[in-house]
Symmetry: D2
Subunit: 333 residues, 4 copies
């Protein structure tokens, strides 16, 4: 069965998903909608699909599933509308910046037995997925301590920062999800530190650019996260899981893996400098997983609940920084 | 301008090129031909092109360029036919197993001012190309000594071996081309050793499975090649260039780059186990280069002459093993 | 000038320092004392020095400096005695498990203008020292975020644990010192999590075996530490410093650095499995630095104050775990 | 039993061995001789041994073993004299530059049932030894193809070159021995290429500075060697063994193993720049093995015959370059 898609939002990430959908033998991109007609038309021209309004896609009989890549503040509404319309829904993270709104939205999804998958693309990175597979195989025994390093090549514009919900909800949220994906047990406690070291303008916008987080589960499993909005050497994305029998780690990826030796030493090129080239394979695998779920093969994961819990961890981190204390997840969720 | 393609040969490598052509925005796959109609039809179905005979493609007004992926013994004839028909020609290596026949064929290409590119895909591997770029930038000074390690995961069937022209013409030929690509000066002398260590059946077929070659240029630049038809750990493909100011190397590639540490040590997964997954990017970049050349943007490289010289080095290696001596390239070319 | 040494304590670490002292051209080992005469005699026999009592060493005219390797609860008393006796003092960490006692002891050292160096050997590891040198050279710009991973191959006996002051004062204290060594600014805030994951007996002894710590300075520089009392793959000791212009890291060390590739992948041997083989070079360099300081060339560093502050960070971590909050260093120091 | 040593030659390598002998609990350095009294005295002062003449050492009752570090042209004579005097003999490579003289010398050793060990220190490098151990354990199956890369940081003075016997006998000889150590079967055929790329003065002295060698055994096992007298990035010493079940390799060693990431990429420091720092552990292990053999525990290996065969391979390489052909070892040995 071919899953027929509508794409909502034709921006940067919309293009990534358009490519993934059209490149998948089990899917067909039927229509695209965007507030800017030219953006929608560009995708329509490239992939031979129709330009339609969101209303038209909602009403369409020839569309089974939608990918939501519109601005964050429209996500929850669109999820509710399209679940009600009987479409399978893939939504970019986050569902909303308000936990209350996310909970409300997930109520609607549950009420309509909807299919909802949230875009935590990193779970589908082949290297991170391979680390998880080693855990599942038991190679490293019981998971005990996780270290996640996640640094962006550069900070986004301050305008973006202002609408982002802050670094914990915008950037660390991926690491919260990754920690949950690997810990195999729910996080119960969150401690965090935060500072502005990269750009004072980020501080003036009320946000931080350099943060650290400690997570702990009920049984004592622990994870720590180091985030910075700047890394001169590229997009720094590493995870390491230490267990009772060993450890598994996924190293950084670079577009070209050569080494040049001269009198000053041995030099390897910088890392990928952009999340889209770093996670090319992850985006394709993510959409393939959604296509399978939309086609009735397996549950949609990461689920709306995964989106909810990751946001709760972000809220707990915000609170931990503000109140200089360990915050129980049960306080915010 | 879109370059319109005919594909001759719908086997394993034909499929690779069909994917590359259809994935390139500057190309269109118009038709495919194969002695086995079902093979051609499978590609036609997948990419929405026509099935035609070779004669039809030769006569077609709507085809600008062909990709020749038919058996080796048809290459030279097809090159001549399609060059005469005014099509740009991309031909898988080798042009022919006979140097004399290759020379004759290239005469025809020259006489018709044809565009001919030969499929030495490794030049287009991003990692090997980056090594070459470092040489061109002068980072490592003058090239002096090259080491090429090239080992297949496993030997091909003996039937294939029998028709292959032998390991030097079938397998080492890629390394001869790579050495030429990196040396920046023509090879003048060849010394080789050869043995059967992997499979006695290969020896019974008159071939070797484990060989070493030394190359030398007039100015004394040197290269050495180590080949084996077997590597339990995957498709082993490394180059290293030592120069007056430093060295540049391209390491092996693996599908998943994690590391697992246990009481027995630190383990990384095996390499790619198949040339098609190892060289996915190289095949796409190779066809992109041909599309550019076919579209009039730049010369076709590697050229027919590159194919000729690599074959001559293979012939010299065969002779070196047989006569236990250093063979001058001028003796065979 | 040759610095003449008395060694107090002939146990495991005493032997390490005896070797370092006798191997240094600027030092001479004159005498050794130990509560167990046989232990002292073994060192005397091996290195040709005398066995003396602590009192005799204190009174000796032919001894300039002492190395204190006796049990922790004797450190502060011995420091005071030997500083009063005019000897330069090298003392293994910690000075004492009580901050108050350490402060008192340092008062005595100051009053007598004594030379006191504390045994934070890792500062002298050539790899960690090279990371610090890169910071000092400005290669990575301003230090912003540090990640320290420190895991022992296996837990010490529970009897040791009980006398150790707990994991933060016994094990993490090295990482606290390393963080201070690299941050270049005093830590003002400490947050920690802790659990028993390795051995329930450690929990029964009132200690933890798996801990995480976040550190922060007044200007917002941050460090995080991951500790475990167990690592099947060896003695895991890594540091990574992220700065405004780049990052510097020191990787793990192994006794033998080969790689073996088979059908199951590429395997490198485990790490060092013992701190003495891991830090062989560090111990020698540490004593060389003390010999220089004792001989009047340069200040003794790490100093008694460095020992004091590292212990204060440990106390803050203990408090943070107990009270589930961020602890200001000013609360404990 | 303590083995009592006389050291013949107090130059650079003599100092290395003096340190190894005095650092070994089973040996004692009794006396040192050198044509330059000041050189001998320096070692005597440092290690507390006597200065004696070679004649006195030969006649001494209190000396069991000698280490010969004098100029090459004295080696064979001294071996004969000291074997006749009943001393165990360790001699730096080569025994002599003339195969005939080496054979004659070994006759004398055999006639007197002497103990002779030749200084191929690399066999004792822990990393190379670990590769050999993997072969012995069967991890990589039957050895099939070896690649040895060996490059000096810089060329020696031309005066040294002139007396050296040429690059094959002076430098490649270590790689010939390493190939034999790893192949597990005698080499029967040698092919080589050679050029002057580093320094024309080396060519004017009748030598080469950049060479390649192919080796082959009767059963078809093969090895290849790449040598250069220059490597800007340090002392480049790598071996790789490919077998029927896998491969084992020993990578380069560097004094400090950090990595610094900046906008231009990831940089590791250069390699060791001197054979003495690179092979510190090897020199100590080599002398320990000789002490064991001199003390009657095990045979002396590498033996005089190992020295002979490595020299024969060098002679065959010289002949191969001169005659542009594969040379059988049986032609020269």
């Amino acid at each position: 069965m071919t899953v027929k898609f509508g794409l909502l939002g034709a921006g940067r990430i919309g293009k990534v998903h358009a490519k993934a959908v059209t490149g998948d033998a089990n899917a067909e991109l039927v229509a695209v909608a965007d507030a800017f007609p030219a953006a929608a038309q560009a995708i329509a021209d490239q992939y031979g699909c129709a330009v339609r309004s969101i209303d038209e896609i909602e009403a369409a009989k020839d569309i089974d599933a939608v990918v939501i890549c519109t601005p964050t503040d429209t996500h929850a509404d669109l999820i509710e509308r399209f679940v009600k319309a009987g479409k399978a829904v893939f939504c970019e993270k986050p569902i909303d910046l308000s936990l209350a709104r996310v909970k409300q939205c997930l109520e609607v999804v549950r009420a309509h037995k909807g299919t909802l998958m949230v875009g935590f693309n990193r779970r589908f990175d082949p290297h991170f997925a391979a680390v998880r597979a080693e855990i599942d195989k038991g190679t490293i025994g019981d998971v005990e301590m996780i270290v996640i390093t996640s640094r962006d090549p550069g900070a986004p514009p301050v305008d973006y920062i202002k609408r982002s919900g802050g670094i914990f909800r915008d950037m660390t949220i991926h690491d919260f999800d990754m920690a949950r994906f690997l810990l195999g047990e729910e996080v119960t406690e969150v401690s965090a530190t935060a500072a502005v070291l990269v750009d004072p303008a980020i501080g003036e916008a009320g946000d931080f650019d350099s943060v650290q987080v400690l997570l702990k589960t009920a049984s004592g499993k622990q994870a720590m996260i180091s985030n910075s909005r700047r890394a001169t050497y590229g997009y720094d994305q590493r995870i390491e899981v230490h267990g009772s029998k060993g450890a598994a780690s996924a190293e950084n990826q670079r577009p070209v893996s050569i080494e040049v030796a001269t009198a000053t030493g041995y030099n390897r090129p910088p890392l990928h400098d952009f999340f889209m080239t770093r996670y090319t394979e992850a985006y394709a695998a993510e959409i393939a997983a959604f296509i399978a779920a939309a086609g009735g093969k397996g549950a949609a994961a990461p689920s709306g609940e995964d989106g909810l819990v990751a946001l709760a961890l972000a809220d707990a981190a915000v609170k931990s920084v503000a109140e200089k204390r360990t915050v129980l997840v049960s306080e915010v969720l």
